[in-house]
């Protein structure tokens, strides 16, 4: 029987974050992954602060978290074959995140068809109805993403992944 999308996602989940050096350096974690959905977390860390007076995390952490969460949701929405590239990412910074709290991003692939996926996401620090930021993004499977997917298949076949 063919592997279900959920099983495939479960198997690929560790690669989607640990395989990205930048996600690792920010300590991003994948809290949940389903068809067209991803929940990710950025931990509160002193070395990621953007305003030393208030201790608020830098907006760049929110940007990277939202980009990554949207990318994972798009990957899942497109059938978990190739990692798509970000075409554009629009972020509204609603309010500063509370110092000391992790930031959680919930991303949902609204529509995926062919090579394109549209994603919406919310970032919050505990209460989803009181967002820190919201984002809207479009992704596309590009030639480099197809070539990268081929390299993954080869690496898996050779037992390197």
């Amino acid at each position: 029987m063919a592997e279900s999308l959920q099983d495939l996602l479960h198997r690929l989940a560790p690669l989607l974050v640990d395989g990205s050096p930048h996600a690792q350096t920010l300590g991003l974690a994948l809290d949940g992954l389903g068809p067209g959905r991803a929940t990710m977390r950025a931990p509160y860390r002193k070395d990621l602060v953007g305003d030393p007076e208030t201790g608020v995390l830098h907006g760049g952490v929110v940007t990277a978290l939202l980009d990554h969460a949207c990318g994972v949701a798009a990957f899942s929405g497109l059938g978990a074959k190739e990692t798509p590239a970000t075409l554009d990412l629009r972020i509204d910074y609603m309010r500063p995140a509370q110092p000391g709290k992790d930031i959680i991003a919930e991303a949902e692939c609204v529509r995926a068809h062919g090579l394109i996926a549209f994603v919406r996401a919310t970032a919050h620090d505990g209460d989803e109805s009181d967002p820190v930021a919201t984002a809207q993004a479009a992704f596309m499977v590009t030639r480099p993403s197809k070539e990268a997917a081929e390299r993954v298949k080869t690496a898996i076949a050779e037992g390197k992944l």
Partner: protein, 138 residues
């Protein structure tokens, strides 16, 4: 110009972690994001992380606003829209900002980031920032 705040901006933990620096000629400012492995988003392409490039452009937008006029505090992003035009390769990234309009509370900024060729940008950003200019009579 707000030289002290430009220093503060570059010393912020998140910004100094990634080694962002500015090259200034008067009120013109070019940001440099030196390549490091921890900036890579997808090693299989390989390409730098979109979040890292986006965040770098936000820092350059803030730097350009501080280089253009005296401000009381660091600009705060209200919204940003980033277009990714080509994969950012594992090498240094440069960015320069153009201030569209800078009022008494909000500034509109566009940023272009490039690597090998200035006329082949890897990403562009356009965004609004909350600013607090030093009052003219002080």
């Amino acid at each position: 110009m707000s030289d002290d705040l430009i220093r503060t901006l570059l010393e912020v933990p998140y910004v100094s972690k990634f080694g962002v620096r500015f090259e200034r000629r008067g009120d013109e400012l070019t940001g440099v994001l030196p390549y490091a492995e921890h900036l890579v988003g997808n090693p299989l392409v390989p390409a730098l992380h979109g979040g890292a490039v986006g965040a770098f452009m936000e820092v350059v937008a803030s730097g350009a606003l501080l280089a253009a006029q005296p401000l009381m505090r660091l600009p705060k992003p209200i919204d940003v829209a980033v277009d990714y035009l080509r994969p950012a390769r594992p090498q240094d990234v440069y960015a320069r900002a153009v201030i569209g309009r800078s009022g008494s509370r909000v500034a509109n900024v566009r940023v272009e980031a490039w690597q090998n060729r200035r006329d082949a940008p890897v990403a562009t950003l356009h965004g609004h920032f909350l600013i607090k200019p030093v009052p003219a009579d002080s």
